[in-house]
Subunit: 199 residues, 4 copies
C-alpha cells in the first residue's frame, strides 16, 4: 500500500520489534490504550496485524514490554534508595533521580498518568503500585505527622504535574521541569525538618 521510494521496505533488519514498540508507545500516549487498535499500529508500520503477533503474544504484552524496558531506571533507583540512610540528602537525591527518570521516558509516564484506569486492569498495574509504595517507604518517615507524610508524597506528585499537567503554563519545558524539581525538593526538606524538630 504505502510503498517506499526505492521499493525496499526500509530498514527492517530485525528491528521490527523495536519499531512496533516505538509506534505503539506514541499512539498509546496520544490516544490512550483502548482507543489504539492493533490495526492502526500495523498500518503505520506498513505490516499486517499478524506480524505484530509474531513479535508479541498479545496487545497487553506490547505495553508490558515497554513498561519493563523503560522503567528499569526506577527499579534501580528504588533498590539504591533502600540501601541508603534515611537522610534528607538521600531523599532529595531520590527526588532528583526520579525527576530525571520521568523525563527520560516521558511518553510512557504520560501514558500511565493519563490511562490509570486502564493500567490498573493491566498486569503492569500491580507492579507499578509496588514501585510507588517502594518510593513512598524511602521518602516518608513513618513516624512523621500525617501532614508531613502527605507533603512528601505530594512532592513526587509535583514532579508528575510538572511533566504532564502544566503544559499551559508559559515557559519552556526544561525550565518548568527544573522549577517543579525545586518545589519538590523544598517540600521534602520541609517534611524532613518538621519530623526532626518534633522528636
Amino acid at each position: 500500500m504505502v510503498g517506499t521510494m526505492d521499493g525496499t521496505k526500509q530498514q527492517r533488519r530485525g528491528n521490527t520489534r523495536q519499531r512496533i514498540q516505538d509506534v505503539a508507545l506514541q499512539l498509546f500516549a496520544e490516544q490512550g490504550y483502548e482507543k489504539t487498535s492493533l490495526r492502526e499500529i500495523a498500518e503505520r508500520l506498513d505490516v499486517t496485524k499478524a506480524a505484530l503477533y509474531y513479535h508479541f503474544r498479545t496487545k497487553e504484552e506490547i505495553i508490558v514490554s515497554l513498561f519493563e524496558d523503560l522503567t528499569k531506571p526506577i527499579e534501580d533507583l528504588i533498590e539504591w534508595g533502600r540501601e541508603q540512610p534515611h537522610t534528607l540528602q538521600t531523599k532529595q537525591e531520590i527526588v532528583r533521580r526520579y525527576s530525571a527518570a520521568l523525563t527520560e521516558a516521558e511518553p510512557l509516564f504520560r501514558f500511565m498518568q493519563e490511562n490509570q484506569a486502564t493500567v490498573r486492569e493491566l498486569r503492569i498495574g500491580d507492579t507499578f503500585r509496588d514501585r510507588m509504595r517502594g518510593l513512598k517507604d524511602i521518602i516518608i518517615d513513618p513516624e512523621a505527622d500525617l501532614v508531613d507524610q502527605v507533603r512528601s508524597l505530594s512532592a513526587l506528585f509535583t514532579l508528575h504535574a510538572g511533566l504532564f499537567v502544566m503544559q499551559d503554563l508559559e515557559g519552556d519545558p526544561e525550565r518548568k521541569r527544573k522549577a517543579s524539581l525545586e518545589v519538590a525538593l523544598d517540600m521534602v526538606r520541609q517534611a524532613h525538618e518538621h519530623a526532626r524538630r518534633d522528636r
Copy 2:
C-alpha cells in the same frame, strides 16, 4: 447503591435517568469509560440497552450530563474567585472550597483523573481544561517567580493526590483529606509570601 427491598422491578417512576447516571458513574469510575459498555449499565439496571437511548442520545452524553450536573460548584467557585481581590485569603479560600467540591463529587473526579486520555477526546475535555485555566488564573500571580507559580499549581494537584492517589497511606480518608488541604494551604501561603517579598 440503589437498594431493592423486594425482587420486583422497583420504583421506576421517572427516576430512570438518575439511576442510569448513578450506575454509569460508578462503573466509569471503577473500570474506565471505554471498558464500560452500555450493555453492562443496562443489565445492572435490569432494562434494555434501548432504554438508555430513551434518556440519553449517546454514551458520551451520559458522561457529559454527569459532568454538567456535578461540576456546577466548581464553575460557581471560579466565578466567585474572579470577583475577589487577589489576596492570600482569597487564594486559600479557593483551595478550601475546591477541596470540598472535589470531595463532594469524588467519583466523577476520580474518573476524570484516571481517564484523562479518554476525557481529552470527549466533549467535556475542553470545558474542563478551561476551568483549570480559570482556577490557575486566580491562584497564580503572573509576575511571580516560575517556581512559585509551580508551587501554587501544585497545591491544587496535591488535593487531587489526596483524594485519589494516597489510598495506600494509612489513616481514614477524612483525616487524609484534611492533611492534604493543610499542605495545599501552606504551599499557597509560601508562594504568596515569596511574591510579596520579591517586590
Copy 3:
C-alpha cells in the same frame, strides 16, 4: 422543542392524520421509504412517535393510505377505459389522462418509481402491478406485433420519464410534460396504425 410563536401547537384540529401523510410523503419521496424513520416524521410534526400509532397501525399503513387516497384517479381511469371501444381515440385519451394523473400526484409516483424494490415487498406492490396490467390491456392490441406492443407500453413509460428522469433537460417542467405527452401520443398512434395496416 419547536414551540410556535403563540404557544399553541398550531392548527391541530383533527387534521393530524393528514399532516402525517403530507410529511411522510415528502420524506418518503426525498429519501426513500426505509431511510425515513417514524422518529423523523414525528419530529417534523412536533409530536411523539406514539402519536403516529394513534392514526396508523404500522409504518406500512401510512404509505398504503397515501397510495389509496392518491391513486383513485388511475383506478377510475382504468374502469373508464375498459368500457370504451379500443380505438385510437380511446388509447390517446387514456394516455392524456394518465399523464394528468401522474402530474397530480407527482410525489407519490416519484416515490414509487424510485423505490420499486421496496414497493414490491409492500402490500401496494400487487395492487400497483394489477393496475399497470389493466392499463396495458386497454392500450395494447393483443394481436399486434410484439414491436408495437412494446411501443405502446413504452409510451406510458415515456410519461414517467418525463416527470422523474428528465430533470436535467433544460426547459420548464410543464413544457417538458407536454413534450413527453406528445411523444407518447405519437407512439400510441404509430402502434395503432401499424396494427391496422397489418390486418
Copy 4:
C-alpha cells in the same frame, strides 16, 4: 450461482471477494439494498460477517465495487461516442451497444432501476448521473425541438423498460429485448430526421 459439488466448505482460494460480490448483487437486486443485511450475505456464503469486512471496508463499498466492475463497458461506450460524428449511424450504434451493455449486467441495472432513491444517496449516484448525462449529450441534438429531445431520451428509457418492466408481457426475454431495441432505434431515427428537416 456458486455451485457446491460436495457439502464441504468448497474452494475458498482467494475467490471469496468475488463470491461476496455475486451473492450481494443477487440479494440487492432481489430485495433492495437496505433490506439486505450483511448477516444475510454472510450466511449464504457460510462465513461470518467479519469476513466480509476483510474484503470490503463498508457495505457501500460492495455495491460500489460492483458498479465499478460492471459498468466499465458503458464508460467505454460514452468515450467512444464522444469521438464519433453526430450522425444517425452513431446514435443508433450507441443505442445498440447500450442495449447490449444493459443486458450484460442486467442484475446490476435492475438494482439501480429499482433502488433509485438509495442509489442517489450512495457514492455511485453522482457517477451514474454523469454517465447518463454523457449519453444524453451524444444522442441528443441540442438544437432540436424539445419534443425530439424527449423522443431521443425516451429511446434510452425504452431499453430500460424492455429489461425491467415488461416482464409480464408474454414472449421470451430475448425477443422482447430485440423488440425494445427496434422501438428505440426507430425513435432515434425519427428524432434525427425531424431535426434535419427543420433546418
